[in-house]
């Protein structure tokens, strides 16, 4: 537990070294009040071009700059213990006031189970092993390094936070045009077709609920990161190694050490959106 906590403070620390002051971290990772503030969007944007396009040349790998938070999901662990995945999903729903609509047409989903062939169409084989076809994979926002949803948004209501790579949302700016939903190649975004509040099972007063007519998705638990906590789904799987979270640009981070060691895949790599969520299968 303590070790985990220290790891997270280190992420925060890295941001400070990268020249982003401590107050900025709180702002960028959005407490409920700030999540909607204009300042957040502005802060995320102005610094973006410099951080994103520095050091890119030829066909070589880009020199990583700043913090890029990412996740490694070990599907093998979930195959062994399916209840773990259920717990992770349930935690996210509870923490983020995600409404549960009876009608699938109105669904709001941040993290959910889906068949492997749906999540990884480019990695599916004609004759897959039983452990692949017989178990669900998990889908959530990839917090893409080059997010098509951000490119499409006409109001910057969805934006890439250049300080930590999180693709965040400003629910108070979103006009509900759903261009980002058409643009996301992973189906990670949901729209509030109705007022979600009556469909929230148990209200968590520490996190804002949304209004009808706006889009939402996984936020990598920005609000928890701001408090030095791990994302809720990561915490739900603690000690199992099913989900590891950390800075993809730090060669010594847990995620990087895992990725250096194991064979991993990203969803639809041909799209070029550079997902920050990696999977070990």
């Amino acid at each position: 537990m303590d070790k985990h906590r220290r790891k997270f403070l280190k992420i925060a620390g890295a941001s400070v070294v990268a020249g982003i002051g401590a107050p900025a971290i709180i702002k960028l990772t959005a407490t409920p009040a700030l999540a909607s503030g204009q300042g957040v969007a502005a802060a995320g944007h102005e610094a973006a071009p410099a951080a994103e396009h520095g050091g890119q040349g030829g066909h070589g790998e880009e020199a990583p700059q700043g913090v890029r938070l990412g996740m490694v999901i070990d599907l093998r662990k979930f195959n062994e213990r399916p209840e773990l995945l259920d717990a992770a999903i349930a935690t996210c729903i509870a923490v983020h006031n995600i409404p549960e609509f009876p009608n699938s047409k109105d669904e709001v989903k941040w993290i959910w189970k889906a068949p492997f062939s749906g999540v990884f169409p480019e990695h599916s084989s004609q004759h897959s092993a039983k452990k692949i076809t017989g178990n669900p994979a998990v889908s959530l926002c990839n917090h893409c390094d080059e997010p098509p949803c951000v490119r499409a948004c006409p109001t910057q209501a969805t934006f890439r936070n250049s300080a930590n790579g999180i693709v965040a949302m400003d629910y108070h700016r979103c006009i509900g045009c759903r261009f980002c939903m058409a643009a996301c190649p992973y189906g990670s975004r949901s729209f509030n077709w109705y007022d979600p509040r009556p469909y929230i099972k148990k209200y968590n007063k520490d996190f804002p609920s949304r209004m009808k007519g706006v889009v939402e998705k996984c936020n990598f638990c920005s609000e928890r990161l701001a408090l030095g906590q791990e994302p809720a789904c990561v915490e739900a799987c603690q000690g199992t190694g099913a989900i590891t979270f950390g800075d993809l640009n730090d060669p010594n981070s847990g995620v990087r050490r895992l990725l250096d060691k194991e064979f991993s895949i990203q969803r639809k790599p041909s799209i070029g959106s550079k997902p920050s969520v990696f999977y070990i299968v």
Binding site: S104, C177, W193, K212, V214
Partner: protein, 389 residues
């Protein structure tokens, strides 16, 4: 000139009342949707755009189609179009108004629409679309009004207006190109990710827009004693035929690329549209009848239009144009947008069926467009009659 809308035969008032009825129903449906949410539509997490955006896409084409009159008249000095250019410009105004209404109807938070201007995002195609659409609307209002006023006073239009007339030509092309770019720049949607979308949009626009103008000419000939002239109409028919053939050619190319390459991503949407798609033992084929109706109507209309005997008969000509207009509406105003969402990014199929409330709003917006075009045409023709004495 506005006073011209206040006088008319009973048929005129009945027509306006008829449209007004649909507008009222549409408004009531919209108030419901505004209060309850877009959940009242058939749209879903997977098919996140429906009738509103597909009508918008089609109507941008109708608006752009007006340029097929402006360009021959002003650039090539084709005098025969002198009487009907104004019809093209006024139709463009009505079509853009419908486009803007459809966008507003589709927004989840319409009160925040101005955020597009307050937080300009040059990376978003919707930002440019807002600019060119409003620009084109403004240009058509300006040019239409100034030129009509000059005609009424029986003087030459002021020289400066020609700058705006010429400017409106690239604008017409741009509105449909940028609208195509809303779709063809999205990396995960194979059906839309095709460089031929913009040319195809333009081709179908340059057929559907003039077809509607031709229908208007035929109607006005009967009800308003307005003759566009046989020569002008024949020229329009030629334009319509070529543009329609081009659109069909482009559709054929899409088929070739998909089925010859045999790449699933390219095939899927076409398969779903024209033949239906099976998924987990269930057949999904909602769009199939619409798409075949498109093909049959389009080729039927082209066949009629190229037959000299058929196009001499006003009734047959009108039916042929209507067939073509409906065909391209099915193609772009129904199939193109909806099929792009099938299958969804996770390979599942969710079908979309519009609700009554949604259809009510859609008809309301169309009625508003017809109302605008009726009033504008009333003014234009009133002026022409006045001048001719």
């Amino acid at each position: 000139m506005i006073e011209k809308t206040l006088k008319g035969k009973p048929a005129y008032w009945i027509w306006l009342a008829f449209l007004g009825m649909f507008m009222a129903v549409g408004a009531a449906c919209y108030i419901r949707q505004y209060n309850v949410g877009l959940g009242l539509t058939g749209m879903s997490r997977d098919v996140s755009w429906g009738l509103y955006i597909s009508q918008f896409t089609f109507l941008v084409g109708v608006a752009a189609g007006g340029v097929m009159l402006v360009l021959p008249y002003y650039v090539h000095n084709y005098k025969e179009f002198g009487r009907i250019t104004i019809l093209g410009e006024f139709l463009a105004i009505a079509a853009i108004i419908m486009c803007l209404l459809f966008i507003m109807a589709d927004l989840g938070q319409p009160m925040r629409a101005l955020n597009v201007v307050l937080h300009p995002s040059p990376n978003s195609m919707l930002f440019y679309d807002a600019i060119v659409l409003n620009g084109y609307l403004f240009l058509n209002i300006l040019c239409g009004w100034v030129i009509l006023t000059a005609e009424k006073k029986q003087v030459k239009p002021p020289k400066w207006i020609y700058f705006f007339v010429y400017l409106s030509i690239p604008f017409a092309v741009s509105i449909h190109t940028v609208t195509a770019m809303l779709y063809c720049g999205l990396p995960g949607r194979h059906f839309w990710l095709s460089a031929i979308i913009a040319p195809r949009f333009l081709a179908s626009a340059f057929a559907a827009g003039p077809a509607l103008i031709l229908i208007a000419c035929l109607v006005l000939k009967r009800v308003a004693n307005f003759d566009a002239g046989r020569k002008a109409m024949n020229k329009l028919i030629t334009i319509i035929i070529y543009a329609a053939l081009l659109n069909m050619f482009f559709v054929g190319l899409e088929f070739f690329v998909a089925y010859y390459s045999n790449m699933p991503g390219h095939i899927e949407a076409l398969q779903y549209m024209f033949f239906g798609m099976e998924h987990h033992g269930v057949m999904y084929n909602n769009l199939v009848p619409f798409m075949w109706a498109f093909v049959v109507l389009a080729f039927g209309a082209i066949a009629l239009l190229v037959t000299p005997a058929a196009r001499k008969n006003d009734l047959v000509l009108g039916i042929a144009c209507l067939m073509l207009f409906v065909a391209f509406w099915l193609d772009k105003g129904v199939g193109f947008v909806l099929a792009g969402f099938v299958p969804n990014p996770l390979g599942e199929i969710v079908e979309y069926i519009p609700t009554m409330n949604e259809i009510g709003i859609t008809l309301g917006v169309w009625a508003t467009g017809f109302m605008v075009v009726t009033l504008l045409y009333k003014i234009a023709i009133g002026v022409e009659h006045e001048v001719e004495g």
